[in-house]
Amino acid sequence: MYKMLVIGLSAGGIPLVKRILRALPQNYPLAIAIVAHLSREHESHLAEMLNELTYLPVSMARDKEVISPGRVYIAPPDYHLLVEQNPHPQSHFSLSVDGLMKSVRPSIDVLFESAAEVFESGLIGVLLSGANTDGVEGMACVKRLGGLSVVLDPQECDFATMPHAVIKHVDVDYIASMDEIVSLLLSVYEPS
């Protein structure tokens, strides 16, 4: 059973992630963590903006915060967001200001790889749109550790460098349209 959903996006990705979050129902059983490349010094209002349009509570991820199902966490600007394997019943986030990866911080690779190591086959990784190649290593790791790897069809986005790079380097499970991604993410939801 899936426990966590990680979403990576860069240029052109904000409208797409909005669409996904709008479609997810209350009590969605997965925890969701999002890395979006925003300008480094720009104070992010992304969490507030997304919070307006989804049933799920959205907040900036905090260091040591326990990862709870049905919540959406955004990587804070200028920090890498990582998932910690810990002795507690639930895993938690940590932050780092280690160097830029592929010239970005937060890095999609860093989140995806650390989440894959903790959740393994319980992880879904979704990459949307972007003009760089961040996410390739992360998605490779999701796939290698048995998680579900999903990338947006490059024909559906304006900035296709990222999805193209992922498709080239990783044998992903799904190359999907936005509609397909949404129904895929809804299919793991079984209302009780």
Binding site: D63, K64, Y79, V83, E84, S96, V110, S114, E117
Partner: protein, 287 residues
């Protein structure tokens, strides 16, 4: 017992733990309480640096070659910062913290984690501009003597200056930022006279005690590298080193986990800023 095949990332966890054990026993550097995920990333990067297939291949070198061990240690406690990083936080420090600090007859500031000196010299410039530098002693500490030396040296690549100047201006700075430096070839050096108020001190947050009472403790992006238990110890240490009424500044996205319960004498100033003030706790009297 049959031997079971493991996934590589689980084996890497074993390698990390062996390596940390070697550093602790052989050199006295204890990183075992650090947050694991980012620590593991930094260690695995070393396999590329040294061109080895597995982290455990570095074990003999670490144990027998001090130079290799030093490289590993430097990489684990890698400092990254810049002048006036998070300009708006510093702007707040100018307006919120400094007027209060001014009410103390003299000021001790403990800046934790010297990095390459960017944060401590940022503080010096701010204090200088606020007219507080003359009555201030700044203690900049780090676990790693190599970093202390580098910070004391105070030189950086010239091409970083433009970005820092922008941040300085956004922090509310109105002087000529470049005048705080001397250009030496392709490097900039902080002016010698700006080093006078600083004392660089080797201090290990993992095991050392409070060494100075301070009115302002600046500990930015250090706590995120610690696991919960160590983090709690360090926050306790920082709190004890603060005079009542003193301030604790963290990194922009940092906050103190369970502050209400575990560190009730620290009060968050507002939710926009990673700034805490040490207050007097009134003991509840049971009648």
């Amino acid at each position: 017992m049959p031997l079971v095949k493991w996934k590589n990332h689980n084996i890497e966890d074993v390698e990390v733990s062996l390596l940390l054990s070697a550093l602790k026993q052989r050199y006295g550097y204890d990183f075992t309480g650090y947050a694991q995920a980012s620590l593991k990333r930094r260690l695995l990067e070393l396999t590329h640096y040294f061109g080895v297939e597995h982290l455990s291949k570095l074990l003999p070198e670490i144990l027998y070659d001090e130079a290799v061990a030093q490289t590993v240690i430097n990489n684990i406690s890698v400092p990254t910062s810049e002048f006036f990083r998070d300009a708006l936080v510093w702007k707040e420090v100018r307006t919120t913290v400094f007027p209060r600090l001014n009410s103390f007859p003299w000021i001790n500031i403990w800046q934790v984690g010297c990095g390459r000196g960017e944060e401590v010299y940022t503080l010096v410039i701010l204090l200088h501009e606020a007219g507080l530098l003359k009555k201030t002693r700044i203690f900049s500490s780090d676990i790693n003597p190599a970093f202390l030396k580098e910070a004391q040296n105070g030189r950086w690549s010239l091409r970083r200056l433009d970005g820092w100047r922008d941040s300085y201006l956004r922090s509310g700075g109105s002087a000529d930022f470049d005048s705080y430096f001397e250009i030496k070839g392709d490097e900039v050096a902080i002016r010698e006279d700006l080093k006078q108020s600083i004392e660089f001190v080797q201090h290990n947050l993992v095991e050392d005690e409070v060494f100075k009472e301070a009115q302002f403790v600046v500990c930015r992006n250090v706590l995120i590298y610690f696991g919960e238990v160590l983090q709690e110890r360090v926050v306790d240490l920082l709190t004890r080193s603060l005079e009542r009424g003193g301030y604790l500044l963290l990194g922009r996205s940092e906050y103190i986990f369970d502050a209400h319960e575990k560190h009730p004498e620290l009060v968050e100033i507002n939710d926009k800023l990673p700034l805490y003030r040490k207050v007097i706790i009134k003991r509840r009297r049971y009648v």
